[in-house]
Structure formats: structure tokens, C-alpha cells
């Protein structure tokens, strides 16, 4: 029987709510495991969950330096979509979308997945042509996509300025109706909860300080809470990948760490009923269930390991929000934060075996880590369990750069901050 249901709420409610168990145990590290996953973010927790659920590997430890929900899984703008341009990305992110669609039931935890639609605004006829091409590609891969004219955009999103006087007049848009948002904290807690109930040890406040090697093979890690051995060590640490792999002797990767800011306004009555993205610059906004406008835009553009950004981007992104929604000009910003993102040289992720024997790498999530969480964990679990990539993540190797086969969604070239 489901641990969280209307019946359990009633039962525990009648007994003073004293019978609830913690959503996950505070596990102590054991000396060894079958698999260690370094990084207790969304991707690491999802990996552990799918290892246990899909592959029957339950002797798994997730090692988290801080606490669950501290990092990027709680620092994004909660958007979930699969409206990509390139074939590899469409297939991977659509598999993620399908996992999202059943996620609350699979995890026995309500992640509040809301398929309210993602609308990409086109501000020029040529941009609309590009969206037509993208939408056709999506539909060929079985993804929903609808090309809209200006009147249809106005009807879908009444608060948006679609007038000829707009700074960037809207000519149309591309809508993915199945896309939307999910509550990001619930995704972290839900994966942690579900993995824990399958036997996974989630070990918080446990920083990996080095890797144990025997004959060139990784056989475990040293941590702030002692050495832990495992024949397979997966690394899913997002913006900290370069520093963690340096502890294994790998000095260079096709990755730069950057800070990506996000913002929330004070709560408003319902104004924006889908996710709106503005491609005249770079801005994306949705309205949370609480009423706040959750929005973000570009990176701060310089290498950073700080989980906070600077003011020029705060100004730039707010300006873009106002260009789309002049009616929110007097709404106050209540919170902003920064996440440490792992930008690759082509804007696409890496899920692969290696780079050392016994090691597995999951990194390079750029702007797209949150929406990828289910498929990333699912593919990484497959890769760890079978020592080979699944067909969905086979293109996302570490070697593709040196082999001249980058997957450059945006066509920005080897400049990570531009993806």
C-alpha cells in the first residue's frame, strides 16, 4: 500500500500525526557497496532509484557533501520540456518527458507535475520559420508541437504584450502542450524517498575527498566519513565535476562551471498560465502555484563556482520579462539565487562509462539539468548496471569532442557560456 495516500493522511491525522516515518533514513556509511553514486542531487538520487528499481541493484550508496535538495535540483526554474532541435536531444528529452508523466505514481510522491504547456515566442518571421523546422522535427520523433500565429499566442497567454508597439513584436510561437513545470524540491525528496525504501543508503554531509585505485582501476572513494569501497563508482556532481575528477587525477575536461541565476516575484493572482520563453533575448517565465513569477535568463557569462550571481544579469533578465509583460512593472522581486551549472563545449550532456576503469560519468547539464533528471538517472543507471551506454545516451560520450562529433544544439561552437 502506498505510504503517502489520502488514507494514510486520515489514519495519521486521527492518531495525532505521530506515526509518520522520515521520508528517508539518515544512513551511516557501510565499508562497501555494489555501487557508489557521488552526488545526492536530482540526477544522483534518480540514478540510485533506477539502479534499485530497474536493475535490482539495491546495495547502493548516494554520497552527498551537503544535504539533499541543497544544490541545483532546488535552484532551477522548474521547467520540464522536450522541444529540442537535434535528433539525439529530442529522443533523450522525450524519454525524460515520458518518465515525468508517470513519476508521481512511480515514486509514491507527488512531484506536482503540471503539463501547462511551454510556449516559445517568435519575434521575427525567420525565427518562426526556425520554429516550424524544429516543430516538424519534434513531430517526426513523436513529440507534440504546435506552430501558433500571433492571434493564437494572444489567446493562449492573455497577459502577454503582442501589440505592434512591443519592443520585440510577437509574430507567433511554438507550443509544446505536454511540457510544463514540476515542484523541484518534491523531485529531490521523492527520489530520495523512493530510493531509500528500496534499500539505497542516502548519506548526507559526506564529502568525497579522493578515489581509491588499484592497478589503475577505481575501487572506491575516501570521504570525510571514512573510506568506502565499491567496484563501480558513478559521479554525478554537476558544476563540481572538474574539481571532483581532479581528485582522481583527471586535470582537464570539456566543461566550464558557470553560475545561472533564477528569480521569484511576490505572489500575484493568475496571470501566466503556461511557461513562456522569450527568444528575442533569453528569458523564461512561469507562475508558481503560490502565485510568484518564477523566471530566469542567461548565465552570468564568466566562470564561477559561487552559488550567487551579479547585478547586471538581474537587470538584464528583469528587462526582458518587462519587454514581454509590461503589466508586471510594479511587481517586486522577493528572492533570487544562483546555481552552479556544468556547461559543456557543445551544450549537450555526458553520460558514459569512464573516464577511468570502474568509474562512470554523468555531467554537462548546461541549462537543461532539471528536466533531464528522470532520463539522466534512468540512462546512467543502465550504463552503470550494464557497463555500456543505452541507445538513448550512446551519443553523449566524453570522447565526442576529440572525435569531432559534438552535439551542438544551439550552434554556438566550443564556447560553453554561449550554449
Amino acid at each position: 500500500m502506498a505510504e503517502y495516500s489520502v488514507f494514510s493522511v486520515l489514519r495519521h491525522g486521527l492518531s495525532g500525526n505521530r506515526g509518520w516515518k522520515p521520508a528517508w533514513r539518515k544512513a551511516e556509511p557501510k565499508p562497501s557497496y555494489d555501487v557508489i553514486v557521488v552526488g545526492g542531487g536530482g540526477h544522483g538520487l534518480a540514478t540510485a532509484f533506477y539502479l534499485a528499481k530497474e536493475h535490482g541493484i539495491r546495495d547502493v550508496a548516494v554520497l552527498e557533501r551537503g544535504w539533499i535538495g541543497q544544490g541545483n535540483v532546488g535552484r532551477n526554474t522548474t521547467i520540464v520540456r522536450s522541444n529540442y532541435d537535434l535528433d539525439e536531444n529530442q529522443k533523450f528529452y522525450e524519454w525524460s518527458m515520458k518518465l515525468w508523466e508517470g513519476l508521481s505514481h512511480v515514486l509514491d510522491y507527488n512531484v506536482m507535475f503540471s503539463q501547462r504547456g511551454v510556449l516559445n515566442l517568435a519575434n521575427s518571421p525567420s525565427q518562426l520559420d526556425q520554429y516550424a523546422e524544429r516543430g516538424n522535427g519534434m513531430r517526426l520523433n513523436g513529440i507534440d508541437a504546435e506552430l501558433l500565429g500571433r492571434d493564437e499566442v494572444a489567446k493562449l497567454c492573455p497577459g502577454l504584450d503582442v501589440s505592434d508597439n512591443a519592443r520585440f513584436p510577437v509574430v507567433g510561437g511554438l507550443l509544446q502542450p505536454r511540457a510544463g513545470t514540476a515542484r523541484h524540491d518534491a523531485v529531490a525528496w521523492g527520489y530520495a524517498h523512493a530510493a531509500d525504501r528500496l534499500g539505497v543508503d542516502i548519506i548526507e554531509n559526506c564529502e568525497v575527498t579522493g578515489f581509491l585505485k588499484e592497478g589503475g582501476r577505481v575501487v572506491g572513494v575516501t570521504t570525510s566519513r571514512g573510506s568506502i569501497r565499491a567496484p563501480k563508482v558513478g559521479v554525478a556532481v554537476a558544476g563540481n565535476t572538474s574539481e571532483v575528477l581532479r581528485k582522481a587525477g583527471i586535470e582537464k575536461l570539456p566543461i566550464e562551471s558557470h553560475v545561472l541565476q533564477a528569480f521569484v516575484t511576490e505572489p500575484l493572482k493568475p496571470l501566466i498560465n503556461c511557461v513562456v520563453t522569450f527568444g528575442g533575448g533569453h528569458m523564461y517565465v512561469s507562475q508558481s502555484d503560490k502565485g510568484g513569477l518564477v523566471y530566469g535568463g542567461n548565465l552570468d557569462y564568466y566562470n564561477s563556482y559561487a552559488q550567487r550571481g551579479n547585478l547586471p544579469v538581474v537587470h538584464e533578465v528583469a528587462t526582458e520579462l518587462l519587454a514581454c509583460f509590461p503589466n508586471v512593472g510594479k511587481v517586486r522581486l522577493v528572492r533570487s539565487w544562483g546555481g552552479l551549472v556544468d556547461m559543456t563545449m557543445d551544450g549537450s550532456p555526458i553520460i558514459a562509462t569512464g573516464p577511468l576503469p570502474g568509474m562512470y560519468l554523468n555531467t554537462g547539464w548546461n541549462y537543461g539539468g532539471f528536466k533531464a533528471t528522470p532520463a539522466s538517472g534512468w540512462c546512467f543507471a543502465w550504463t552503470i548496471a550494464s557497463d555500456a551506454a543505452h541507445v538513448l545516451n550512446a551519443p553523449f560520450t566524453l570522447e565526442r569532442f576529440h572525435e569531432g562529433r559534438p552535439i551542438d544544439e544551439r550552434g554556438a561552437g566550443p564556447t560553453p557560456r554561449l550554449h
Binding site: S242, N303, N310, H402, P414
Partner: protein, 91 residues
């Protein structure tokens, strides 16, 4: 974030554009080793802490600088000119 331009003094970050890691070295043109070129194009040390990086004072004197900045704290500890004016900051 403020950047100490050797020509213009302490100026706001918004006057500059970022040019990336200043420690990578382009192979000489006759070099035909693909691995060295791929390393130059794609591979980065991406350190937490001190980072030498290019900045262009595009809305100021238009000089290219090498700035030393801490990627964890954003503290800028120095900036020098490159190109024909390199080394002439105090001349």
C-alpha cells in the same frame, strides 16, 4: 563586480565582456597533431579558486586584459594589459 582596468581605473563589470580562460595556448599553425588542437579547443582545467581570464573593456578603452579572479568568491586580484601595450601599465 568591479574590474581594475589599468587604463580606466576601477570600472563596473557591465562595461566588460568576458573572453574565457587565458591559460590555454594555441598550437603553432604547422602543428598537425589533432589531439593537441582538440585539447586547445575543448579541454579546460576549470579551477575553483584563482583563474586567469581574458576580459575586453568593450564599453571603455577597448583594451583586452588578463584578469586574475577567484571563481569561488569573485574577488578580482589584478588586471594587466595584453597586446602592444602589455607591460606599460605604469609608463
Amino acid at each position: 563586480m568591479l574590474i581594475p582596468c589599468p587604463v580606466c581605473g576601477l570600472r563596473d563589470q557591465s562595461e566588460f565582456t568576458y573572453g574565457g580562460d587565458a591559460t590555454i595556448v594555441r598550437p603553432v599553425l604547422p602543428d598537425v597533431d589533432a589531439a593537441r588542437w582538440a585539447d586547445y579547443v575543448y579541454d579546460r582545467t576549470n579551477p575553483r579558486g584563482g583563474h586567469q581570464e581574458y576580459w575586453h573593456h568593450v564599453h571603455g578603452c577597448r583594451s583586452w586584459l588578463i584578469v586574475v579572479r577567484n571563481t569561488e568568491t569573485h574577488d578580482v586580484s589584478g588586471a594587466r594589459l595584453i597586446g602592444p601595450w602589455a607591460g606599460r601599465e605604469s609608463a
